[in-house]
Symmetry: C2
Subunit: 268 residues, 2 copies
């Protein structure tokens, strides 16, 4: 599929603020049978991010049309980027500028089925996440911390890296959120200082409140994970990957990720 820039196959103005400053937002969505999964929540997160950045976005129908155009049928992935456009030189954001939309469709990635059935192996990243409450939670285009964290390993047997913040608290994977069952509670790190509040994280929390127990969002120390009865990672494409090994230590298999993935699969 060609990449669409403002709805047409094409290239990007190199003065676009998305390139110049990372001045924009993105969403990565799973498409099944031509429909983007959890699209309402993806658009809601975009709206939250746009509010935080004071970025003008078009109405939801136009955004849905961009998604559909990027991957019209079957199973795939759509990545949607909105930037503050190509006007203005210098950091000062121009007002009333039309945003730029980049919509790209990709084939569904070929992950090994064992990631779901047997679980994945995790490592800790050296790269820490800097904290900025005004940028925390939203999916903006400043992602160098994740790029450098992901550059730390090339062992294909390691599926994901855990990132701590500068205080040493557990925040997330490089491209996924973390859940752990600790002392009978389902815990996920609070994301008020850094990290991205993933759509599948939201979906798990909604599911869990109905089918298990309410998830506790709180600060989480690395040593707490050593006693976890179950750990799993979520993102919009993978659903939930059970963790079977963290930094060389075995992690028990648990029922939650499996139950959630079954529910998710039944949603189509």
């Amino acid at each position: 599929m060609p990449v669409l820039v403002n709805g047409r196959a094409g290239q990007l103005d190199p003065l676009d603020r998305g390139l110049q400053y990372g001045d924009g937002l993105f969403e990565t969505m799973a498409v099944r049978d031509g429909r983007a999964r959890f699209v309402d929540w993806h658009l809601a997160r975009l709206a939250d991010g746009a509010c935080r950045l004071a970025l003008r976005l078009p109405d939801q129908e136009q955004m849905r049309a961009q998604i559909a155009a990027a991957w019209p049928a079957g199973r795939g992935v759509v990545k949607l980027i909105w930037t503050r456009g190509a006007e203005g030189r210098g950091y000062r954001p121009p007002v009333n500028v039309d945003p730029t939309c980049i919509a790209a469709g990709f084939e569904w990635p070929a992950w090994p089925a064992a990631a779901w059935s047997e679980g994945v192996r995790l490592r800790y990243c050296q790269m820490r996440l800097g904290r900025n409450p005004l940028l925390a939670g939203i999916k903006h285009l400043n992602r160098l911390e994740q790029v450098l964290a992901r550059a730390e390993w090339d062992d294909e047997g390691i599926a994901e890296g855990l990132m701590l913040d500068d205080r040493g608290q557990v925040i997330s994977g490089t491209q996924s959120n973390l859940f752990a069952v600790i002392a009978g509670q389902i815990v996920t790190p609070a994301l008020d200082q850094c990290g991205v509040a993933g759509i599948m994280r939201r979906a798990f929390c909604a599911w869990s409140a109905l089918h298990a127990t309410a998830v506790v969002e709180r600060s989480l120390q690395p040593d707490e994970l050593e006693t976890a009865a179950e750990i799993f990672m979520t993102n919009a494409l993978i659903g939930a990957w059970p963790v079977r090994e963290l930094a060389g230590r075995q992690v028990p298999a648990g029922p939650l990720a499996v139950r959630f993935n079954s529910w998710l699969a039944a949603q189509g």
Copy 2:
């Protein structure tokens, strides 16, 4: 002047990692008589940044050629961006990929002469700088903190905003570095946790060691600025702007910025 992408007038692949993740570096240079001022230092900072990001850059002669092509003669500004290219999907950086070069030339900005002769007014920004030692000092493309800080005011009488880090220490302006004369010492904030180590900051430190006293790099609290005998802001284009007012309080005029600007002007 057209914007050059890899040496030719053109547009950018929207899958370029510079847009997708801010995975790249930039430099903004003053050009006089067709020569980029402090070009060796700009290229040295690029090399430092490339080392930090494990980004492959071409040799210096190729980089100089890009700069010259972007603004060949007279007085202007060149902004040079290097990204990790358009290969690879996901945060994991591809290896041995050719970087993308974007070179843009701009007319010299029309700043009022009073900024140098009378000094400028500063405010404090609400937006704080998150700390990440692995990204501190280099001029990478993740600049949302600066964009949102600059969005905080639209009073044209305020030239710059001071940014603190998340601990409340003074770091820099949104697009400039800060120097202050405190208790007889010339102080500039240490940039080992966040901030950009500006080329004019380096130039001032080099000049000061020869013509005044060695600059002290250290942590700096906002209340220390209330007793400063002189404050000024530096960047690669402006040289040094004396500060005459900080957050509504008058700041004394001092000799250092004036002497430095005279020296700088004499360099051509």
